[in-house]
């Protein structure tokens, strides 16, 4: 049977299609909520690192350590640590939030450091108190760099969620385990394609979001180009 026939047969079943939608929805939830939480965590870490520089080293090391723990292990160990049930999708959400935060802490700190001294100094001189300065000036200016990090994190998350299928919470990942069990290409191919599409769409949305959040980086007038601060 050719792969196209196989795909046609596979997608021909209404039950299959319904399962696909459910898996996709779950995948979105599992991948995207952690991005939000991870960003919040990273911003918190950035704030901590700014106000209390001695913790910066610790933060960076902690972030690196989190990143060394295999996702599968984290999925399984989290219930033991925080008392959720083993099949709870919260486990995956927490694990991925931690990864996202770990991925973003460095760029967050770097981005905050890259805010021109002149700008922070003039904010201080104008009578900003530290908290307001952080949220009103430093954080917005860190957005371009942070956004680049978030794009990477989002894409990685979307790919990583699949591993959750090994503990029964994996969104599109279940297509891989299913295909594997039955030596069946169709679900695997569909799973890979849907994951890629999802990543692409989310990436696009993030680019748009970034543009909305950083109007000052858009070349609005023809007379002067705007320095592009985008990392790869």
């Amino acid at each position: 049977m050719s792969i196209t026939d196989e795909l046609a047969t596979y997608l021909g079943s209404a039950n299959t299609r319904a399962q696909l939608w459910a898996a996709l929805a779950e995948h979105c939830y599992l991948a995207l909520l952690p991005i939000l939480l991870g960003v919040v965590l990273a911003v918190g870490a950035g704030w901590l690192g700014r106000t209390w520089p001695p913790v910066r080293g610790t933060l960076a090391v902690a972030a690196n350590l989190v990143y060394t723990i295999p996702s599968l292990a984290l999925f399984v160990v989290i219930p033991g640590v925080i008392g959720t049930t083993i099949l709870d999708s919260v486990n995956v959400v927490i694990a991925l939030s931690l990864y996202t935060a770990a991925l973003l802490v460095r760029p967050m700190l770097d981005a905050l450091d890259a805010v021109p001294q002149a700008v922070t100094a003039s904010a201080t001189a104008m009578g900003y108190r530290p908290a307001r300065r952080f949220f009103g000036v430093e954080l917005p200016l860190a957005v371009p760099v942070l956004a680049a990090g978030v794009r990477v994190a989002a894409v990685s998350n979307i790919s990583l969620v699949s591993v959750g299928a090994l503990i029964g919470v994996g969104g599109l990942g279940r297509l891989f385990t299913d295909g594997f069990q039955r030596e069946y290409y169709a679900p695997i191919v569909v799973g890979v394609v849907l994951t890629l599409l999802l990543a692409l769409v989310v990436d696009l949305l993030l680019v748009l979001l970034r543009r909305v959040l950083t109007p000052w980086q858009r070349p609005a007038s023809p007379n002067r180009p705007v320095a592009a601060g985008e990392a790869a």
């Binding site: 196989e6 047969t9 596979y10 079943s13 039950n15 299959t16 399962q19 459910a22 929805a25 779950e26 939830y29 049930t85 083993i86 099949l87 709870d88 999708s89 919260v90 959400v93 299928a165 503990i167 029964g168 994996g170 279940r174 385990t177 299913d178 594997f180 069990q181 039955r182 030596e183 069946y184 169709a186």
Partner: protein, 277 residues
């Protein structure tokens, strides 16, 4: 909260979550149960993708993340009672309720059986190995492939009963593609597979006769969180169990793993035939 999770999972709110183990047909059985329950009027039934082995399912049923899961009577009994000597269907099913811990119950068992079996490749069978007893003298030269927990469950048993001590017990998977691949390539010479598994025959593997009854009877039996199902739902499940025979299950398995059909579709067809809805 989690929009996909709803309230308490598998709780008393009528929501039913059916689990499956990583044995291939488990998912199929779960879909059949799901169809039967829907037919019995349950309107919120979900089937979760397969997760690990029995340990995980039992844990999830006890914490009520799951409501129901298909299981095999013999192994289920051994899981809770290492020292049982029950081997026949009737013995096993009789002992089960007593062995189950608080919070779990089994419904009627089905006549359909899916036992563990040891299989070898055709070439070894051709040398006259037909039973495990035939295998025993050669064990120390053979590599065995099976699920991760196999050694723990059976190593002592097979030594005691048959005097077979494998050269190595390698972890492949639960009668799945890795096992098949390992046996096919000769990486292992003996493997643990399941009697209803279509891939045993499609690959020309030869099951060995368990001539000393090491593997107990393995009737399909729904394992449920205690009190989570209504009488009507239980009745529907009992009807399905009664309608399922070993041949039928083997056929369904072919549909599932050889013809690659959607398990929900297969379940629907089966239930329609069996008049389960």
């Amino acid at each position: 909260g989690n929009p996909l999770r709803g309230g308490a999972e598998g709780g008393d709110d009528g929501r039913i979550v059916i689990g499956a183990s990583d044995v291939g047909e488990s998912l199929l059985l779960a879909e059949i149960y799901a169809g039967a329950l829907r037919g019995a009027g349950a309107d919120d039934v979900t089937v979760r993708p397969p997760v690990g082995g029995r340990e995980v399912l039992v844990q999830a049923l006890r914490d009520r993340s799951l409501t129901l899961a298909p299981d095999y009577s013999g192994n289920l009994l051994r899981h809770f009672d290492q020292d049982t000597s029950a081997t026949t269907s009737a013995e096993v099913y009789r002992e089960l309720p007593g062995a189950l811990p608080e919070g779990l119950e089994v419904l009627d068992q089905s006549p359909a059986e899916n036992t563990d079996m040891l299989v070898v490749r055709g070439d070894l069978a051709a040398q006259g190995v037909r039973t495990i007893s035939d295998l025993a003298p050669r064990c120390d030269r053979l590599v065995f492939g099976g699920p991760g927990q196999w050694g723990e469950r059976w190593r002592a048993e097979i030594r005691e009963l048959y005097g077979c001590e494998f050269k190595e017990i390698r972890t492949t998977d639960t009668g799945g593609p890795v096992t098949v691949e390992a046996l096919r390539s000769g990486e292992v010479q003996v493997a643990n597979m399941f009697s209803t598994s279509a891939s045993v025959y499609s690959n020309g593997f030869v099951p060995l006769d368990d001539d000393r009854d090491m593997f107990p009877a393995q009737n399909i039996v729904p394992l449920a969180a205690e009190g989570a199902l209504s009488a009507r739902e239980r009745a529907a499940l009992d009807r399905v169990s009664a309608a399922l025979t070993t041949e039928k299950l083997t056929d369904l398995n072919v549909e599932f793993s050889e013809r690659k059909r959607n398990p929900a579709d297969i379940a629907d067809e089966f239930l329609a035939q069996a008049g389960g809805r």
